[in-house]
Point group: C2
Chain length 188, copies 2
DNA sequence: TGCATCATGTAATCAGTTACATGATTTT
DNA sequence: AAAATCATGTAACTGATTACATGATGCA
């Protein structure tokens, strides 16, 4: 149930509405935990009912009221408890790896376009992370470091390392697929 | 629904029972896709009912019959269709990253033991992958390469790269946690 | 005698995704 | 006039996890 904890962390960093949280889950915290707005609304409601979150209805002109959630004392305690519990190192779920092994039973060249597409997506993500790192941590206009920011930065460095590793591996995959294609289908 | 496809790939590589598949999902294919036996039995039953798999009941002495599944023509076609469809590059679900950001609201030193534990697990996995690579692909007793094995190898190289990257990142995380601890709690 | 392994499953619950639904405001 | 953004939700479905359940064989 790490979505609960991801929400607690995000709301401790800054209180906000379900909508705002959903947007944060598209960037920032979403780099390492995803959730859709439907899921978020459901969980917020449950956590508020359980007393983990406080709710403040903010009336707005011409718009539906905004429900701003913040972390209640019980929520903070729940997060702390979770931080002290060991968690399992996660196991991967990697569709592309399944596809690559499956390609042995089809034409490996089928996958070249797909792998290139993934390569492109990961290159974009890397560029995006690096820009964010520059803006928020290493650039001249970055705010002064404090423990919270240091921890955010080390997590972002993890994302950067992951994207770099993935890109290098996809290069390896592409080279392998081309090699197999060339062997099966030698030039005239 | 990539579990279906992971099962198809595994059964194409070698037919087997639910029990055998469950064990393969603890190693080999399980390096990049996890599933428990309960899940596997359920999915096998459904896929057999849908005509994607063939079932052969193998009577055994003193033991319950073994149900050996193999891929039917329709299953092969379904796999091929899936290989030609684009899939979304997966988004991460990384509990530990959530914890690290959460540590800003608790004592960061809490996490040192946890991070060391993960470091240990990933080091073990890396050693295990490297031994497997030696045994199956690069060592003197490794079978001759063919396209299927080349693809298995490139997937394994991905696992190795992932573990190496993760270990290096966890070193970075540990150094960061120690630095924060030292700053908060200077030596006497 | 007890534990691990082989071999199979059901039931209940929880988490996550997809589709549907509404309605105002702001920007192009 | 249309599209994007702000803001909230329900309902149905699918997928994954956890707990429970059975029973033989073989090893220490």
């Amino acid at each position: 149930m790490a979505l609960d904890h991801a929400i607690l962390v995000s709301l401790l960093e800054r209180p906000g509405s379900g909508y705002e949280l959903a947007r944060r889950f598209e960037r920032s915290i979403g780099y390492f935990w995803t959730a859709t707005h439907q899921q978020i609304y459901r969980v917020l409601k449950r956590m508020e009912a359980d007393g983990l979150l406080d709710l403040r209805e903010v009336p707005q002109q011409g718009r539906p009221d905004k429900k701003e959630y913040s972390v209640a004392e019980a929520g903070r305690a729940a997060l702390s408890r979770w931080l002290h519990e060991p968690i399992e190192p996660e196991s991967l779920r990697h569709d592309l790896a399944v596809k690559i092994r499956g390609a042995a039973f089809d034409d490996p060249a089928t996958l070249i376009g797909e792998v290139e597409r993934h390569h492109h997506v990961h290159s974009d993500r890397l560029a995006h992370y690096l820009a964010g790192e520059q803006r928020d941590f290493t650039g001249p206009d970055a705010p002064a470091p404090d423990p919270g920011r240091e921890l955010q930065h080390v997590v972002l460095r993890g994302g950067i390392a992951y994207e770099r590793m993935t890109i290098a591996w996809l290069d390896d995959v592409l080279a392998t697929l081309h090699r197999l294609g060339a062997a099966a289908d030698p030039p005239a």
